[in-house]
Structures are given as structure tokens and as C-alpha cells.
Amino acid sequence: MPKVKMPRKSTLIDMTAMCDVAFLLLTFFMLATKFKPDEPVAVVTPSSINTQLLPDSDVILLTVDKDGRVFFSMDGQPKRKQLIEDLNTNFKLGLGPAEIRNFTIGSSVGSDFKNLKQVLNLSADQRKNSKVETGIPMDSTNNELAIWIEYARSAQGNNNKLKYCIKADNETPYPVIKRILDTFKEKKIQKLNLVTNLESKPAGSAAAIFEAEHQ
């Protein structure tokens, strides 16, 4: 057999196309990413078949962790600033500009008014480990949650589109939820939203049949 001389091929590959794809994907993910502030609590929400999206704005969000601690959060930095300034003047919290700024750019808080100054002085990492945040109190004698809701509502300018969302953990005991619902009821707020994950409709159920008929 004659010896076939294989031509030596260059190992160089043209990477322009690969580079194009890489940067296209990179651009997509960069634009699609929205960084959210670090939450002080981790919550695993239950799933439901509801497909309604949680809006990005005009939301008052109460986060309840599995121990029943209630955290308050709201969108919009100017509104948050106004809220904390109102609370500061009316309840004499003694917050300085640094603490007000910390609340404005931060995420949710879950402490009573007495410890709010201390909580807002901590960094996000310290807050996760500290035991200061014991949840917003909502006993009938000291219902600070009702105060938060009321002030948040006025900071949002009595907006009609405002949604009140409750994001609670799977393991949250029901009495805590009931207490929150009662607080909203006392404030004459009847329309609430529960934050859930999406799950598929069970095959053959009335909801699945209804959806199929209306498509």
C-alpha cells in the first residue's frame, strides 16, 4: 500500500462565530437579569394553578417565614423614603440619615419599632445572623403591622392599583396567617394576593377542562 501522506491540518479554529453566540447570550442574560436586594429570610412558597403574575410595582409585600415572623416590604425607593420618614417623625424612632438611607435602598424589615434603629444599623450579612428581627408585632394590643400597612398605603398615595401580597412559607402556622388576614380586615382591605409558585392543572379537572374550552 502506498503511504498516504496526510496533510497537516492546522489546529486553529475560527472562533468568531462562537464568540458571536457567546456574546449574544451574554447580552440576553444581562438584560434579563434583575438583581433583587438580599432578603433577610428565605421563604419557600406553596404552589397553585394560578397564572396571574406578581406585579413589579405598586406592591406591598408581607413576607412570613416558617417561624411566623412577619417582614414588611414595599417597592419604589422614593415611596420607601417617605414611609420611613413619616414613621420616624410620628413614632419618634430616632433614625438618622444613614438608617433612613439603609431602609430606602434595602429590602424587607421585620422588627418592632423599638429595635428598628438597631436593625437598620446592621449590614445585610449581620442582619441574617442577628436575632434582633423577631417579626413585626401584630397582637391586638400592639398591632404595629396595621400601622405599617396604613403608612405604606398613604406613602403609595392611595393608589388604586396597589396590591397587598402575602408571601408565606409552606410551614407557616395557620394562626399567624389568620392574624394577618384579620389585620387587613380591620383596615377594610378585602382584596389580597397570596404569592405562589406555578404548578400545572391536574388533567381532567374542572379547571383544565375550562381552560381547554376557552382557548
Binding site: 486553529l12 472562533m15 468568531t16 462562537m18 464568540c19 457567546a22 456574546f23 447570550l25 451574554l26 442574560f29 444581562m30 434579563a32 437579569t33 438583581f35 412558597t45 406553596p46 404552589s47 397553585s48 394553578i49 394560578n50 397564572t51 396571574q52 403574575l53 406578581l54 412570613v64 396590591k163 401580597c165 408571601k167 408565606a168 412559607d169 409552606n170 410551614e171 407557616t172 402556622p173 395557620y174 394562626p175 399567624v176 396567617i177 389568620k178 388576614l181 387587613f184 380586615k185 377594610k188 378585602q190 382584596k191 389580597l192 394576593n193 397570596l194 404569592v195 405562589t196 409558585n197 406555578l198 392543572k201 391536574p202 379537572s205 374542572a206 379547571a207 375550562f210
Partner: protein, 195 residues
């Protein structure tokens, strides 16, 4: 791979005699691709694609006036109770008739299982009630009364509300649990060995 000529000698126009070499336009893109994929990986891992969904929950107004309160018929009602350890209990009607509720089969336990659980109970009751006629001759609607015990979790509550959506039950209400219900739950728990 392309190489840059960094020596100071070449490229100068004033260098007499030597013709400047034509540089290749190919650039080594390996580091750029490396960096690109590194950033992609980072953004892919930090992005949350699925946005959380919400469920509407509309609470009724508290009213003291008798005429504004909704009356529920015993025959169209199904009461579902949530206990601890993800247990579900139910009985038909509102337990206002002491004769019916003294029956040992009156208070039943079930689960959140997809088949043979609370969903089947709801569907059965819904279809039974749909066969009944009200005084106008229209089919009746089932009314589900949800009562949660202190041992129930938020997940149980949402799961049950979700069952209402799955089975398209239009009329349901969450009601405070009564002492009688608590007692029934306790005795059923004891006989089923739930701690």
C-alpha cells in the same frame, strides 16, 4: 494564531529599505470567548426566570346585620377542616343537626392525595349538589366551608384554596373553627394515632 508585532523596529515609516510587513487581521479570540462564557454562566445562574405567581384572595366584609349575611343551606354545604400533620377532615352540611352529627361516620378523615383524597370528595359533593334544584328550579351551587385548626400550615390552606380553583368551586368561605370541630378533630386524631 495571530500575533502582534510589538517590537519597536517594525512598522516605522522612516525605516529605510525595509518594507513594513502586512500584519494578519486575525486576532486570538480564545480569552475573549473564555470571558464571554464565564459571564454567561454567571448571569445564567443568578437569573430567576420564573416569576412568582399570585392567587387572589377576597375576604368578606364583617357585617353585624342579619339580612346582609349569607345563609348557607345544610344540603348544599361541605365543611372541610384542616388539622395538623397535613390531615384533612370533612363532613357534609354544617353540623347543625345533632342527630346526623352523632353518627360515627359523620366526621371523616382524608388527605391531599391526588386520587382518593379531598379532591374526589369535593367533586362528588359538587356533582351531587348540582342535581338538586332550588326554588327557582335552577341547579344548586355547592358551598365549601373551610375551617383551619391551629395545627394547620399555610401550605394546607393554599392547597385547599387551590382545590377550589382546580374544581372551579365558585362559593367558598373561610370560617373560624368551633370548639365542637376541634373536639371532633382531637378524637379522630386519637383514633388515627396522629400525635
Amino acid at each position: 494564531m495571530a500575533e502582534m508585532d510589538t517590537s519597536s523596529k517594525g512598522g516605522g515609516k522612516h525605516d529605510s529599505g525595509t518594507k513594513s510587513k502586512k500584519l494578519s487581521t486575525r486576532v486570538d479570540m480564545t480569552p475573549m470567548v473564555d470571558l464571554g462564557f464565564l459571564l454567561i454562566t454567571f448571569f445564567m445562574l443568578t437569573t430567576t426566570m420564573s416569576k412568582p405567581k399570585t392567587m387572589d384572595l377576597i375576604m368578606p366584609k364583617d357585617t353585624e346585620k342579619q339580612e346582609e349575611q349569607n345563609k348557607v343551606k345544610e344540603s348544599t354545604a361541605l365543611t372541610i377542616l384542616l388539622g395538623k400533620k397535613n390531615q384533612v377532615y370533612y363532613y357534609e352540611g354544617l353540623a347543625q343537626d345533632p342527630n346526623a352529627s352523632s353518627n360515627p361516620d359523620f366526621f371523616k378523615a382524608t388527605s391531599f392525595a391526588n386520587t382518593g383524597g379531598i379532591r374526589d370528595v369535593i367533586i362528588k359533593k359538587r356533582d351531587e349538589v348540582a342535581r338538586l334544584r332550588n326554588f327557582k328550579g335552577e341547579p344548586e351551587d355547592v358551598v365549601v366551608i373551610i375551617k383551619a385548626d391551629d395545627g394547620a400550615t399555610y401550605q394546607n390552606f393554599v392547597d385547599l384554596l387551590d382545590e377550589m380553583a382546580i374544581n372551579r368551586i365558585q362559593r367558598y368561605a373561610t370560617v373560624d373553627i368551633s370548639d365542637q370541630d376541634k373536639q371532633w378533630i382531637k378524637s379522630t386524631e386519637a383514633s388515627n394515632g396522629i400525635q
